[in-house]
Symmetry: D3
């Protein structure tokens, strides 16, 4: 099974830094290629970034079947262009945000999301309300590190732990959703320190894609044209 992982970033550095982390949770036989669309913004943090990233991501999705992929993940917690991609694609498309938030429902009564910067809190709040999950949300909090600084994992884990701990201890949070796929590599350390489930959206999307593509199941989930 070949999955195309599309970043909402033009950064080749992020491609490199994420590849090993994304690979480590895959089933035997799953191969992934991470793509950073060159005309995307360097990172997707504001509503404007989402608007500019979405057509680039959509364009990468549209090519994926002909490139030989079995599924696509949009590797950004804000899911830019996701619904359009689902409508237009001939192979399964899974968003990192929708996967992480949806799976969080299985791990506790209330989840919180920790975003990189305050600029994307509104976007995430609107997304959760759009998903109809307002009454499962504990809090959306932000650390103060832009996406491109998140690869300093020591700094990131420290900042996320502080906000996540506040969410758990003061705001009735049972599950933490990481608010950026670039935070993926810290999930393990964070879960260990906090003692609550921590959902890494990039991995969540990949595991959903693996599941939805499994041969006998796929035809019941994608009855129209996705062949």
């Amino acid at each position: 099974m070949k999955i195309k992982v599309i970043l909402a970033s033009s950064s080749q550095e992020i491609v490199k830094s994420q590849l090993e982390d994304r690979k480590k949770s895959l089933a035997a036989g799953t191969e992934i290629t991470i793509v950073a669309p060159p005309l995307c913004p360097p990172s997707t943090e504001t509503e404007r970034d989402e608007v500019l990233a979405a057509p680039q991501i959509l364009s990468e999705v549209m090519k994926a079947k002909d490139e030989g992929f079995d599924a696509v993940t949009i590797d950004c917690v804000l899911d830019p262009g996701l619904k359009a991609a689902k409508q237009a694609s001939q192979i399964p498309v899974v968003g990192a945000g929708e996967s992480a938030i949806t799976l969080a429902l299985l791990f506790g009564e209330r989840f919180s999301v920790i975003m990189p910067t305050a600029a994307s809190i509104g976007s995430m709040v609107a997304r959760i309300r759009q998903m109809g999950l307002w009454n499962r949300l504990a809090a959306v909090r932000a650390i103060d590190l832009p996406v491109l600084a998140l690869e300093d994992y020591q700094e990131t884990v420290k900042a996320v732990e502080r906000e996540a701990r506040h969410a758990v201890e003061q705001e009735d949070t049972d599950v933490i959703v990481l608010g950026c796929t670039v935070m993926g590599p810290i999930a393990d350390t964070l879960a260990d320190r906090l003692g609550v489930p921590v959902i890494d959206p990039g991995t969540a999307a990949l595991k959903m894609a693996e599941a939805f593509v499994s041969p006998a199941w796929r035809s019941t989930l994608y009855p129209e044209g996705n062949s």
Copy 2:
């Protein structure tokens, strides 16, 4: 006061057909210019259209202040690029969809939206849930006329009346929101026939823009930088 009305369509025909209708509800002294971004899709009906229209609209919004406008309306009920435009613009930006749906709350307990085609029902449903207004919604229904056919007003009024009447008589609807700004010219006839308020989103956005720009009020609504 000069307002830039940005269509989510590249069609110069729509510019022409809508201009007189949009003008007729304006306050003395309000001037409008309708713009159809040339790289927009011909009409915005699917999620893919929204993704492709949004950057074009955003780009038109960004130029508006320098072009001498006092405010911008995004003249599409799906509000493509609206939040990004609000974040990025230095003058007030108002969406047709957000204005129509929000004002509907003042005219009855439950509203329904009549979309041009079934392709945009999902998008509207998600939008209303995102606005947190699910429990004020009666129904989202569709006629079967693509946007570019809506200018046949006789056909359009007939089709919208049929669906709107069903919404009013069978689905507890108090207010009708027209699901496309191109339907604007039928609002009057429709309200007269149905006997319930009918909200035309293009006009709703213009009247909100006029209100928000009024000098003494504006500074309380746009305290940061919008000058």
Copy 3:
């Protein structure tokens, strides 16, 4: 255009103190008259005040058309008698509370309301739930100044700023709604100090009334009998 502004207060002092403030945001050609029904309570802060104010306000609304007005605003954030007035009036009626809270939806994901005293928090909470806007509310807070003391604007701005700042910094608030129309004159200073939109309900109602009465639009919004 002539608009009758009906206070939920019998106080002629409030009429005088508010007139200039209400006028400053009006369109050219809009004239207003502020009325303090003599049998109203001095101010409307408790549920009991609302019950006693409502018939007085309703009675003022019923006379408005014959007095030559084009529209009425009920100038109290608790909207006493509003629904009855809308049902019974032959000209448009707009409430200060419904206008301010509805417009707040266009200026951010979550709004907070700052009431004069704790006695009206429950009433406001119930009102927001009735409007179906629970999931857009951040907080309802109160300063400790009765309505009749609000005209000490220095004291009022200090107290409201303190509570509003708490709402913005600790409770995820994007927009402040002033919880009493008598607070209107402080909106400007407050927005400037806080850097977030501040909605003055008295002005919000007047601007909505101006918009709804505009000739070509009015017939689509008030199809039955309002002539």
Copy 4:
């Protein structure tokens, strides 16, 4: 225990016709007096009726303690003046609407309310949303009999049965709430014919009043001043 039952009607005929029905579910030792405030509207069906009835009811509530009553019920499903009465009264006040709707939650997943006329549907819908119970509501339906015609019980039972059956068979209703206290006498026949619980609001309020006044419990429910 003496309970004052306050109608939202000035009709002495209703007093007479309801007395026996209200009495039949009371505990041994409970005495009731039904009062029809002379300045009330003849019946309370519109928002305007509610506004006019509320101060009359409030005034009757305020006298009740000195008249020797232990509790008050507001015998109207629209609960006019209820919150003000609770705030102002020194003895327990229970509303027929709040009691019936709240108890309906114990008898099924979704309830429907059958109103006398369509004029009060909006009021009931707003009330249920205000109570936060929107997602427990199946439907609000209306027969076409004004309150003062409801005492023709044969006609009433026929009309209510038709709407209630529709709610049960087509709209997922588990419990019927009668939408007017004057419908009380038909509850028994209706429940028998439909085979689902039918809640009579006048009785619901009386049984709640009896419960809340019971000596050892009352002090925990009314800790402040109600003595």
Copy 5:
């Protein structure tokens, strides 16, 4: 009237300690028997306790009619087995949790529940969401005393007062619901100290049972087979 009170506990000590408290709010003529099913867990605090308690409680409910009882209360705020008991029983069954939470709606806009230990917070949160009452909930808090320690009333009242006061003063709580029926005896002291209504679930269920069984009302509430 004879009511069977079924504990979700096998403890005969709890039977003894609760009997006097439960009796003190009953109407003249109501007799109760408290039963502790011997195969129940000693107390019901975790989801696992609920699963193990439910069949024991159900079995006690099924015998109650033949034992001569007129109604049953399930004396546990988590309502284990309640829906099954209602489906299966031939006499009215009332849950302590559903009664307390439902009645709380009549005493304020927002209620909070104080649980014995954090282990049952999730269960209570899920229950309130299931009841559709999420938007009436202020907070679910826990003291740190297991159920079997709650009979030390001095310790219990101190701990519950601390959490309840926090809920009232910091979390917009109007009404306190005690999160365990064994806390019943402290309701009075607590309400007195806090000055807000405090709802004791065991008593709430008993008063509801008394009300629902009253002869003329019962047939409308239990039309099918409950005879």
Copy 6:
């Protein structure tokens, strides 16, 4: 990877009839064992069945780790005992109902569930409200075939297709969730006929279990003790 599939049924016939169907969507290397607890009811359709099935299922879950399993699925759409099992188990536990309903969110705006008989509609409605997903639900409908008759797949597919088609064409449904794991084998035919995604809960739970157990991911999802 070895997964224990626990039925909410004592029927060995169901074990046999489901085994091949459950196997066909599994990843290479996943082995399953289906268990029918002998003291379970023959099928779980009423609230009473749930109460009786839950301790049997819990007991099977508790043994699973020592039996050498890596994960457990509770193969019943009503998820009896699920939360207790999650709390008590040392290996991952996934419910068929929670998995199917949660994944449905990724495949459309509104889902409907088709239950075997009307007896379980209330239970499913309460479950969806408990999950906080009320505003994503289109309808819960029932065919009229008890679980033990569902293995007549021709009859079942005909009955489910009729109800599902009604949900899709009349009730705004985008995704169908099968209301019983025994319906699994019809998912493919049904999706093909209806042209919308059809989610088979038994498979959904197995695919989630496979995903959650994947080595590098598992430690972030189950940080406490599940080893």
